[in-house]
Amino acid sequence: MSRILVSGLGAVSPAGWNLAAFRQAIEASHPLPIVPLARPGWDKPLRTRPVPPPATRPAFLAHPRLRRSSPITHYAASAALEALAGRDMPKRVGLIFCLQSGCVQYSYRFFEEALADPATASPLVFPETVFAAPASHVPLVETLIGDPACFLQGLALGADWLLQDRAEVCLVVGSEEINWLRADALWHLEHAAIISGGAGVVALGRDPALSIGVELSAITEALSFSARQDRPQAARAMRAELGAGVPGELLCDGLGDSPRADGPERTAWSDWTGPRLGLKRIFGEGLMAAAAWQCVAAADAVAAKRFPAAAVSLVGCNQQAIGARFVPFQCH
């Protein structure tokens, strides 16, 4: 059995702390409310779609390791536990943690303290700024960084670990958090984008009994942007490599409200006539979390048998274009 199956999904998003809230927001198809975020020294606030506070404090936050951890870790832990819910905890879990911005709240706080007076900067905060911090405490771990298409590199690495039998289950996590500095940076790059935070988790496994009825069918080559292949060319190459799907296939694209940033992806898929789902209009620009949400939504749509297959298009902002396809899995 060399097939790679989806064995669980989890999501924390501006719609709430679980997959049910995520699904409801997609079904409603209305952009979630925008929350202003103060930008020091400026009258005009930044526009964000943050994760709302949980209705009740999740029990897992009582874990000692999570006491000082960043929101990224909280979101990721919640989504990961949801993806593993309803089954015995596997003994050999692999975790591939994908990040673009990382723990910006603690990085901001620590550097502000260090500039003010390095002698009093908090030694407790600094370790939490490290990219690898949210992924600690899991038996097999890899932290990948890159633009949002990196999430599909994470899925491919997870599939490789499973085929090598290095893990029973691989959790591939994309997570991001909001603070004003990150929102400010995005504003500088894309004025129309609305920053959001949260996490998405795809649990991969090989045991048909634990599958949600979805198989990872394909991931394209990671098509880097370079002087030899610009972003539009990479987007078109990804589309061509992904090939034609079955009739009625769903396309989960990464288009938002930014004409300039969306241009290459929009052009690459301009002849697409099938159904499509654009999550950024609903949830905002969640960077790596948004990439994870695209995969969660695609796999979930196939699991619910709403579509015969689902393609994911990820044209990252400054690294690469990668596509993927999920199809139904039937155990014969």
């Binding site: 990219f131 990948l144 599939a159 500088h188 080559e221």
Partner: protein, 412 residues
């Protein structure tokens, strides 16, 4: 990695290194660094990149950055070149030239870093909190501080293309990058991979270790009974990895062979290793199993050896438990005593130090070591000396608990 993967070869191919580029505070290039280590030099000096007047510690292994050799970057890219990219490109240029690889459109690149273009991020922060607000150059900083832009700069500088994978497992990042590259080739997913690590000296990270009181206010002396902390450095290293068959087909000069890799996570604490070195022991054992060697076969260990009481104590116990009786005669050194802890670059740089030692048959010394710690039951290499080496092992451990080990064999 394109999925579905190609069928793995029935027998994993041997992986050799045909190009190695290195830049540290000891100098630029293989030769300058090899001479520095063989002469037992250290490279610490007062930090001038940022103000350290209010820090406990005021020195680091800061690189004198030379001008870049001619590459394929356009004037706009050159004007935006940050320090991290410059370090990476200097190492990459040397490795590329040494490997003699031709331009290609599908060369996987695997990089390890902890902070990418952090200096640009710091500049972004300073300007963002300044009043009155100014936006000039902020979009460029927001775009270019991310590690993937250094990776793209590398592609363009060498006029190549290919997938970039960036691993950020804290101080094990460089070792993990080389290990990932090794696995890609062994699994038949690539015939050649360009891999390494880089990190710059930044105020944020320097302040972080200073705040943790992890920096030595005296001299970084790993495994010494009176050790009192680490020293930070900066640098980069890149390695050209390919199958033995590919290297022999084109008659390439082989610098050494990578024969094993192992990685584990220490389920203990965010910044502290398990005091008994449990995960370090496991990662060395895993690497040995994949290399099909035993501790008796290993001739030298380039230790993680940061110089902090907790790290070195745990690593010493792990080496003692792993090596058993062999520990008493197994030469160990931490080259961080010469060039500092290069964080995400450390594992890649130390890989090249192992290759230097294997190729030219000498033991890299640990320049500072006075009082042996009774917990360390292995000999520390205190002076540079010639030795017969066939197999070398390199350890890297990081915040978050990732441990990684690579094993190299002499090519003769």
């Amino acid at each position: 990695m394109k999925f579905p993967f190609p069928t793995p070869p029935s027998e994993a191919p041997r992986v050799v290194v045909t190009g190695a580029g290195i830049i540290t505070a000891l100098g630029v290039g293989w030769q300058a660094n090899a001479e520095g280590f063989r002469a037992g030099r250290t490279a610490f000096r007062p930090v001038t990149l940022f103000d350290v007047s209010r820090h406990r510690v005021k020195t680091a292994a800061q690189v004198d950055l030379p001008a870049l050799p001619p590459m394929h970057l356009n004037p706009r890219q050159l004007s935006r070149l940050d320090r991290a990219s410059a370090l990476l490109l200097l190492a990459a240029g040397e490795a590329w030239q040494q490997a003699g690889w031709e331009r290609t459109d599908n060369l996987p690149v695997v990089l390890g870093t902890t902070s990418g273009g952090m200096l640009l991020g710091e500049d972004y922060f300073r300007q963002a909190v300044r009043t009155p607000r100014r936006h000039r150059r902020q979009p460029t900083r927001a775009f270019h501080y991310q590690a993937q832009t250094q990776g793209r700069m590398l592609l363009d500088a060498l006029d190549i293309s290919g997938p970039i994978t960036i691993t950020s497992n804290a101080c094990a990042s460089g070792t993990c990058a080389v290990g990932l590259a090794w696995e890609l080739i062994r699994r038949g997913q690539a015939g050649r991979v360009f891999a390494g690590g880089y990190d710059v000296l930044s105020e944020m990270v320097f302040s972080g270790f200073d705040a943790l009181q992890a920096l030595s206010p005296t001299t970084c002396r790993p495994f010494d009974a009176r050790r009192d902390g680490l020293a930070i450095g900066e640098g980069a290293a890149m390695l050209a990895l390919e199958t033995l068959e590919s290297a022999q087909r084109r008659d390439a000069a082989i610098l050494g062979e990578i024969i094993g890799y192992g990685t584990t996570i220490d389920l203990h604490h965010l910044t502290q290793p398990h005091p008994e070195g449990n995960a370090a022991l496991e990662t060395m054992s895993l690497a040995c199993r994949s290399a099909q060697v035993t501790p008796a076969d290993v001739d030298y260990i380039n230790a993680h050896g940061t110089g902090t009481p907790l790290n070195d104590g745990a690593e010493a116990k792990a080496i003692a438990r792993w090596a058993g009786e062999r520990a008493a005669t197994l030469p160990v050194s931490s080259t961080k005593a010469s060039i500092g802890h290069l964080l995400g670059a450390a594992g890649a740089v130390e890989s090249i130090i192992c290759l230097m030692a294997l190729r030219d048959q000498w033991l890299p010394p640990q320049t500072a070591f006075e009082t042996p710690d009774p917990a360390c039951n292995f000999p520390i290499v205190r002076k540079p000396r010639d030795a017969r080496l066939n197999v070398a092992l390199s350890n890297s451990f990081g915040f978050g608990g990732v441990n990684a080990t690579l094993i190299f064999r002499r090519w003769a």
